[in-house]
Amino acid sequence: MDPQNMQDMRSPLARAIGLGSAREGVGSWWAQRVSAVALAPLTLWFVASIIANSGSDYATFIVWLRTPLTAVLMILLLIALFYHAALGLQVVIEDYVHSTTKFAAVIAVRLGCSALVTAGVVAVLRITFSG
């Protein structure tokens, strides 16, 4: 039997299994939820801290940012935030952008988020460990 005929004899279910979202979608879905759970306390901490620092000048703000707890939470926030953003933006792109633009847009979002999280973490470390 030639390969063409063997393909025809497979049932629709056999052809569908292992394709598309059945393969990797659950991983992204789960990661979106886990990062969301991490972001809830981290973002609330961030908003509360910004409120507490409302009247602060540059020096006071840097003193706050340099404390180890702030640095750790800020880095965790950046990682969870850009991970969550990359996953969410990818879903939006996959829903509305089609053709080859989709591939380029998803790659751009991933690379952009990686660059931004790196820049953010380096900035926090620079503030924490400088002088």
Binding site: A40, L44, I51, S54, L81, A85, G120, V124, I127, S130
Partner: protein, 134 residues
């Protein structure tokens, strides 16, 4: 005639979203996406803010000026509301993920709770900020 299991049938298509009357459920659904995109843009601003702060007082000054300006405050207020709407909407989604609250009545109650909580939290945050001297 029984359709062959190996041939593809043309299936009914869902009507376009424009012909539906906007409802709380659909409006909150699309707002969760829109606020997610807006908050991604705010995340870029967060990195700009941190990088400027790491550069010293001279690089931080223009960012501080932008934050203190009226335009900056309006944008920040919008970002605060987008944040609380996305947070509350996200918590609603996490509850749904546990297969709870899917009755139509529960969906509308939780929807209005999300709207009310987001408005209250946004104003509470800005009142708290103003009382701290911002």
């Amino acid at each position: 005639m029984v359709p062959s299991p190996t041939t593809s049938r043309s299936r009914p298509l869902s009507p376009n979203v424009q012909i539906y009357r906007p409802q709380l459920t659909s409006v909150l659904s699309i707002l969760n996406r829109i606020t997610g995109i807006l908050l991604s843009a705010s995340a870029v601003a967060l990195v700009v803010w941190l990088v400027a702060a790491a550069g010293g007082p001279r690089t931080y000054a223009p960012v501080q000026a932008a934050i203190s300006s009226w335009m900056g405050r309006i944008v920040l207020f919008g970002a605060t509301f987008a944040f609380f709407l996305h947070l509350c909407g996200g918590i609603r989604h996490l509850v749904w993920d546990t297969v709870h609250g899917f009755e139509l009545r529960s969906i509308y109650i939780s929807g209005w709770v999300v709207v009310a909580a987001s408005v209250v939290l946004t104003f509470a945050a800005w009142i708290a900020s103003a009382s701290m001297g911002g």
